[in-house]
Amino acid sequence: MADPSLIACPHCDLLQRLPALPAGGSARCPRCDRELARARPDAATRSLALSLAAACLFVVANAVPMLGLRAAGRDASTTVIGGAIHLWTHDERMVAALVLCTAVLAPGAQIALMLAVALGARAARPAAWVGALLRHQPAARTWSMIEVMLLGVLVALIKIADYANVIPGTALFVLAGLVFVLAAMQASFDARDVWARVVWADAAAEPAADLGPELAS
């Protein structure tokens, strides 16, 4: 019924068997050149450490002001969520919801999912809930736009600097760090390795032998 060492390219459906990969090596589809797998050293430990770091930075980034403004003896400042709230109160509810989703909720979900999966994947046979969470990881990643937001904030900052004194807030620097930590977190994570070990939903279809060595051969 199901052979876990076979892989169909997600972009062109070419059926193939993955070769053994050297540490740090990657396999690409011979037909359409999509990356199929990458051997990541210490994937489990690294993604756990990086997702913990990302969670800390994420909390700080949303708790402290990101931008400040000083003009004509008056001060103003805003946080990421403050930007969304301002839109909401000015009847741009759809855009407010979008900003909140892509700048706060999706990155939060991305980090929380990765943290839970990294913790759950420490077991030799991760439970089925790890797979259930892992399934939503790509979607959270697609809509998480911290790096796009950071570019947007920088453009806004330089734009406003023409009229008033702009004070970059602590959150801005934390966010810049978070962009790199998120990228490293995503890059160190090996979804295929977790899927290869996770407990199958249909226990009857599961191959009896341990899949680890077979996948590597």
């Binding site: 359409c32 990101m66 301002h86 797979g131 259930a132 937001m149 453009v155 939903a201």
Partner: protein, 199 residues
Amino acid sequence: MSCPACALVSRPPRGADAGRCPRCDEPLAFRAANSIQRTWAFLIAAAICYVPANLLPVLTTTTPQGSESDTILQGVVLLWSPTGWPLSLIVLVASIMIPSAKILALAYLLLSVQRGWVANPGSRTRAYRIVELIGRWSMVDVFVDTFTAALVQLKPLMAVEPAPGLAFFAAVVVLTMLAVEAFDPRLIWDAIPAEERHA
């Protein structure tokens, strides 16, 4: 048949329904359901929103001299100066060039799949991947306008408020991202004869 969630390849049971993935229980299908129709639907909706997104103002600036509204393109022109041109270029690329290129590229991919073109499947797949990769950067201007409006509240000197065009522009970005997700790139390879496919 390959599972869209966990990539396990399994043989479907004989008969009507493709069933579910034995490893992760995701419903299986040979190709994404109604990929072409769904992609066209999102794409046409995006193209319709693209018109007001570019014609309506995205920001309104109020000063004691009166208030002034700017569209995306006017924003690009306003930013263009000896020091501001890199910013202007970022907004031009992210807000005007990427969304229009995305709409055109996806329409071309859809047509190529529907007409069963066999030429250059590799470069069409690559085009899809580029569209997938750069799409999110269109959101830059939404964030710029959000934080500009949130911060510049110096009444009565100056205040910046969001304007209706912003919602349409945000809709274009979301709809094109959904269109990219709805498109199944494996369709590009379906028109190619099986013996050539494995070459």
